[in-house]
Structures are given as structure tokens and as C-alpha cells.
Symmetry: C2
Subunit: 422 residues, 2 copies
């Protein structure tokens, strides 16, 4: 029987009521079964995945895309380990804070509760099906998954395994539901289902994130887009600066916390830039230089050095390209970053405490680094266990979103007949 | 010179950068000047207010509306006292949490920061201009105010006083800007200004709140609408139950935390309902009764007792009307509330700890009360100092929103050359 999107929403809401009062033992039991079953049933998963891979090859998808789709024994083992790690984290639910006795004698507290139903719209990688389901389950949330059509066979198989595990733990199978229709109008339906979905997580390119932000009635995460800067202060340790800039730009250039623009204090630019030029060109990084940095480096007849256009500042390159600008002070660097940045990950390299403090205080971003690589803006690195997204929004959650970001709270007031008189 | 809405947005963003790094002394100084000036310049305020009152009378607005508009010496004194109270609260900005040393040696922490620019769309009462400005300022946020056209002269006068006070404290005057155009298309412009506005607060009827939720690209508060229940358990202290129900229904019926539906356990209904009938009818409360409650009360030829329609459950009455239903268990009460409620304020009256726990755990609402009136869901009562709204949304903030709800945070990571290797 095929359910409509609304029916899926209604079933999820119902399941979320049961989950809201489920204890962490049942939750961990279900997570244990999931971890176990995906390894036990790996042949089945790989079989379904092969269908997706074949369709992708028939559709002439590029090798990079096909690699993202691929599930093999090793990746399945990693997915299983990921579920075990999430299961071992403390439950984020039922944590009390703000406890106090009010003037009228009521005992007040705030208590963390699940958000309810999480909707997740994502693209090709099928491991997200397991990651997100485990995070939502660990935080007692029901989830509606809308994966990419490229991984539909893998996702159907994984959903089946998850739902079998839920059943074995006496939790509602509808705690996790995959939307199987590839029709894009399903996404538009999801965006209006504020009666059933409490929070929407778009995991994909900027087109998807912007569509969801613009059209959804449901609170959502804005994230996954970053124009990241690293400012080399006049008091920087230049060797450290080079190592950090090289890492931030080249270690994985296709991700949102990779470096886009290097800002360099004019006093150290003559010493720093030639070394940066050596390092960047050795790694095939194209440098888009402002006039001042260009005059220091010289064009060198090197195709990798170009004059920057206005647009290069404020561009997320997602590739081996960096914009370079010389500035005259930490204040200029801050002004540049707060103008061109997206509030994702920003860094200063300096040995001067005052410059560091000024930078940290004034920069408006999800994470501000002193003497470290912007690539470190990550839930795993930050010790959150896992992340559902990196938010550049300022409400609800900012930066790497761990389990806590999947919770809300309720106020609980225990009285003895209190009424209001004013 | 008249600014466009976009220009106002841009100026607010710029002011918010300065405010983000302003210290609490300057902020409190500005709040002190505001509190002082509104009293000193009360004749000027009352003069402007008289213009609004005259226009309202000419437009045949009802007395209730005109009363909401009115500012007199006493009300101005109260506004001033409100600002002093807000000023005396601890600053919500710069508070560190989640501090830890990561495996790679970085020192990580979360630090509270202002949201940036708050947009507030509100209706007639001019005191909101002062309340909201003080709350935003105290949390280092810039604010764009869009008040109702009925109070435009009062608001222009108050904005002038606030901006003079900001100037005297060396803060940007543009920290607080009032939109003077009465054109409703300004609201549509505001909803799309996500480049300049970080958070939107609609303070008005459900039409405004729903419009903002549906059309805004900017994170917003959903609130101000409640269908509030009180469940009288079989183990209730019936005297307490009567006092609480009467308070919740009649103390101020026009507000969102006033009681709408009374649920009564069938075992105590025969004893409780006749007393409730006496109390309610004495206060002129119309009772919309389900079949079982009606059979206990009897119609008594009393116009105040009616058979409930299906629609009565799930209706926010905002008047001296209550829906009444008999249920057979705390579970039935929970099911009813989670079906018909809006997640605002819900109460159980019981002496039985188990019923209380079950209710508190299962009810999905911003505030859950045991043996107390739903009218107590309030920032002042909860000790938050003041509130910007009562949120029924689950993301960012839930229930009464105090200063903390006007903050975000940034992650600060202090390193010594850390890079990413995986």
C-alpha cells in the first residue's frame, strides 16, 4: 500500500508521540539491532546498491558521483560503527535546567524534549540514511527521509533494515519512514506540512538549501555554504600560517569549511607571500590576487596566478582556487570578513593576544579559530559525536549541530494551587 | 531624508556590528537615559499620543482599542520602570559554555552573542516600542520596529527619545529604527530581507503570525495562539481544581494562556461539575458541554449551558466561554490535549504523583502545569524579567522568551597550529 506524503506525515507524528516517552534503553536496543543488522545483511545491501550503481553508469554519471553512491563491506562496517558510536553517547532527552522555586512557590524547570518529527531532504550518499536515522532515533525523534533518486534502491533496503530493528525493539516502525516517490513535487508538499513536521534539514547544494529557506513554513537549517577566510596578522608565526593555510585550502577543497580567501597584513606580506606562492603553486592552487599581493608575487608567467576580480572575494570556490588580499590592520580584515563572509568558519593567525581577542569578538561566524585551520569546524572534531549539518543560521543552533540541536524543551511548573492575581 | 526599507536594513546591520562589541556599561547607560528621558519628556509623549487618540476617535475605533493606545503619566512611569528593570538584569552576552580541551589540543568554547538585527512587527500598543527596544538593546541587538499605524505619532516621539539616548551614550542611533511608512507592502519587504534581518518577531493576531510564518525567509517566532486545557484528574483536590479553573478561565479571558477546555475524569465528574456550573455561571461563563457532562449538569434552562459542537474542542475562545468534556483516564486526557492543543499551556490537577508524571512527560506543550493555573505561563512569573513573546514553536525558544532568546552563540577555538589530517 502506497501512502501519500500527508499520510506519511500523520504516521510520523503518531510515532513521535510514542518516541517522546520511550526510554533510552529501548532506543539503544534499536540502535544496537540496526548496527548489527546492517553488517549481517550486508550482501542484501550491496545487492540493492549494485542496482543503483548500474543505473548510474547507464545514466553516464561521473566517477565521482558513482563513488559517492557506492556501498561496499568496508563502508557498511563504518556505517555500523557510526551507529554504535551514536548509541554510546548520553541521551540528550530529559535533561533539566533553569530549576528554581518561583516567588509564588511553584517549582519551575526546563526539561529537554525531542523536536518531534524531523524531515530530511538529501542527495546521493546512502550512508546519510543510516547516520541521520541513528541521530534522530537517539534524540527520540521520528524522521521522514527523502533521499536522492540515484540511491533509491539502497535506501529502500536500508529503511527495511531499520524498520525491522525498530519492530524488534517494540518501537513504532513509523519512527523512520523513507519517501519512495522520485517526484519532485513531494519536496513542495513537505515544505507545507508544518502540522506534521517540526524541523526540516536540507542536506545538499545551495539551490536546495535556498529553496527550503524561501518556501518552507517549517523551521529549517541554513548551512553548507561557506566563504571562509584566514587572516595572517602582522604578529603571525609565518611557518604556522603557511601550514594552516595550506591545510585549509588543499586538504579537501570541495567542502564548505575549506579556505576561500587569504588576507595578509601588509607588513608581513613581502615575507609571507613568496612562500605561500611556492606552497600553493606546488599544490596546483590557483591564486586570484588583489593589486598589492600581485605586485609582491609578480605574475611570474605562471598560469596559476591571476588578477582577482571583484567577484572573487565573496566566492565559495569548492576547488583549488584562492583569493588573496593584502590588508593594513586586523580591523580591515574584520571589516572584509564581515562584508564578504557567510558566517561559516573564519581564522586569524597571530601571536598577539590583543589582535586575537579583537578578531574573535568582532567576527560574526559560526566558528572563529585562532591559529588553527577552518577545516576543523566539524561535529566530530568538536566532540559532538556526529553532526546533522553545520548551521550558518543564528537561531536554534549555530555551527556543527549534534544531538542537542535535535531537541527542544518544555517548561514544567509544579504547583500547589497557584493562580494569577495581577 | 526618507530611507527605503532596504536602507533601513543596511543601517541596522551596520549598527548591529558596533553593538555586538559594545560593553554592558554603554548599554546600561543608554537604557538609563531612555528611562530618564521618557519621564522628563512625558508632556511631549502625551502630546503626540493625543494626536493618535484624536485620529482613533475620528476613525470610530472602539473604546477598548483607544484604551490600548493611550499613554498617560502613570503608564509612562511604568514604561520607564520597565526599562530600569531590564537594565538591572545581567547581560545575556559573552557567556561561555561547553568549554573543553579537544583531543587535538584546541581550547573550545561556546560564547553567547547577539542575534544581530531583530525585526518586530506589532500592532497598536505604543509601550511595545519601549519594551522591545530595551530588550533588544540589553541583548546588544539592533532593532527595526514596524508598529501599527494607529500609534504612529506616539511611536515617532518615542523613537526620537530613544535615538537621543543612544547618541548620548555614543551608540549608533541606528541601533533602533522605526519604519514610519504605513504602507502594508513594507511588511512584505521586511519578510524578504534576510540579508539584513536575523530574526522576526510578529506581535499581533494569528493572521499576522501565520503570514510571517508562511512567507518569511527569516527565522521567526510562532506564538500568541493557544488552545489551553486543564484536566481534573480523579485524584484531584476538587476545591483547588475549582479555584484554578475559575482563575484560568476568568481572570483575563482575552489572552493566549487563558483556559479553553476543561477535561474531567468521569469518576469525579458527578461531584465536580455541579460546583463548576455554579462558579462558571456566577461569572457569566458559557459552557459548551459534551454529552456526558451535559447529562450531569442538565440544561437547567440556562442560556449559559450549551451542547458542544465538534469545533468547540480546538477553539481558542478569547472570551468567557469554555468547552467541557468528560474523559475516563489521564491517558484519554493526554490524547485529547495532544490532538486538540496548540502546544501552549496545559495543566493537570491531581494529588497522584504517577498521574502527574505521566501527564508532564507525555504532553507536548511549551509549559505544563501541575496544580496551577495556565495563566502563569509568563516571562515575568517565570523570573525572566520580561518577555518578547510566548513561543509555541519548538526551535530556538519555547514558551516565554526572555533575553536569552535574543541571543545566538559562536564557537571559539583557540589553537596552536592545529590542522585537519583525516
Amino acid at each position: 500500500m502506497k501512502l501519500t506524503t500527508i499520510e506519511i506525515g500523520r504516521a510520523a507524528k503518531k510515532a513521535s508521540r510514542q518516541l517522546a516517552t520511550s526510554n533510552s534503553e529501548s532506543i539503544n536496543k534499536a540502535l544496537g539491532y540496526i548496527a548489527e543488522s546492517i553488517v549481517e545483511r550486508s550482501d542484501e545491501i550491496i545487492g540493492s546498491n549494485l542496482l543503483d550503481i548500474k543505473l548510474a553508469k547507464d545514466a553516464d554519471l561521473d566517477d565521482h558521483m558513482i563513488d559517492r553512491l557506492l556501498l561496499n563491506k568496508d563502508r557498511i562496517e563504518k556505517m555500523s560503527q557510526g551507529v554504535i558510536n551514536i548509541s554510546s553517547l548520553p541521551s540528550p532527552i530529559g535533561i533539566e535546567s533553569e530549576s528554581r522555586v518561583l516567588e509564588n512557590g511553584m517549582l519551575l524547570s526546563q526539561r529537554t524534549v525531542p523536536l518531534g518529527v524531523i524531515g530530511v531532504i538529501y542527495e546521493s550518499r546512502p550512508n546519510i540514511t543510516i547516520d541521520i536515522s541513528a541521530l534522530c532515533l537517539k534524540s527520540n525523534n521520528a524522521v521522514i527521509l527523502r533521499g536522492g533518486k540515484e540511491s533509491i534502491n539502497s535506501n529502500i533496503c536500508l529503511e527495511g533494515i531499520i524498520r525491522d530493528s525498530l519492530k524488534k525493539s517494540n518501537l513504532s516502525k513509523n519512527s523512520i519512514q523513507l519517501i519512495k516517490s522520485a517526484d519532485r513535487k513531494v519536496i513542495n508538499e513537505l515544505l507545507t506540512m508544518d502540522d506534521y513536521i517540526d524541523f526540516l534539514i536540507p542536506r545538499g547544494g545551495s539551490e536546495l538549501v535556498n529553496k527550503v529557506a524561501a518556501e518552507s513554513r517549517i523551521p529549517t537549517v541554513v548551512g553548507g555554504i561557506g566563504v571562509c577566510h584566514t587572516y595572517i596578522d602582522k604578529a603571525a608565526d609565518l611557518k604556522m600560517a603557511n601550514s594552516i593555510v595550506l591545510n585549509a585550502k588543499t586538504q579537501r577543497p570541495s567542502v564548505c569549511n575549506a579556505l576561500d580567501t587569504v588576507l595578509i597584513h601588509s607588513l608581513i606580506a613581502p615575507e609571507f607571500l613568496p612562500v605561500l606562492y611556492q606552497n600553493f603553486t606546488a599544490k596546483n592552487v590557483e591564486m586570484r590576487c588583489d593589486t598589492r599581493s600581485l605586485s609582491i608575487i609578480g605574475e611570474n608567467n605562471n598560469d596559476l596566478v591571476k588578477k582577482a576580480s571583484d567577484e572573487d572575494f565573496g566566492t565559495e570556490f569548492l576547488s583549488l582556487t584562492a583569493a588573496i588580499r593584502v590588508v593594513d590592520s586586523v580591523e580591515d580584515a574584520i571589516e572584509h570578513i564581515n562584508t564578504y563572509g557567510f558566517g561559516h568558519s573564519e581564522a586569524i593567525i597571530t601571536e598577539d593576544q590583543k589582535s586575537a581577542d579583537k578578531f574573535v569578538n568582532a567576527i560574526d561566524a559560526s566558528a572563529v579559530f585562532v591559529n588553527a585551520s577552518t577545516r576543523l569546524n566539524d561535529g566530530g572534531v568538536f566532540g559532538l559525536g556526529a553532526e546533522v549539518a553545520i548551521s550558518t543560521g543564528k537561531t536554534h543552533a549555530r555551527g556543527p549541530m549534534g544531538l542537542k540541536s535535535l531537541t527542544s524543551y518544555k517548561w514544567v511548573a509544579l504547583g500547589s494551587g497557584q493562580i494569577r492575581s495581577d
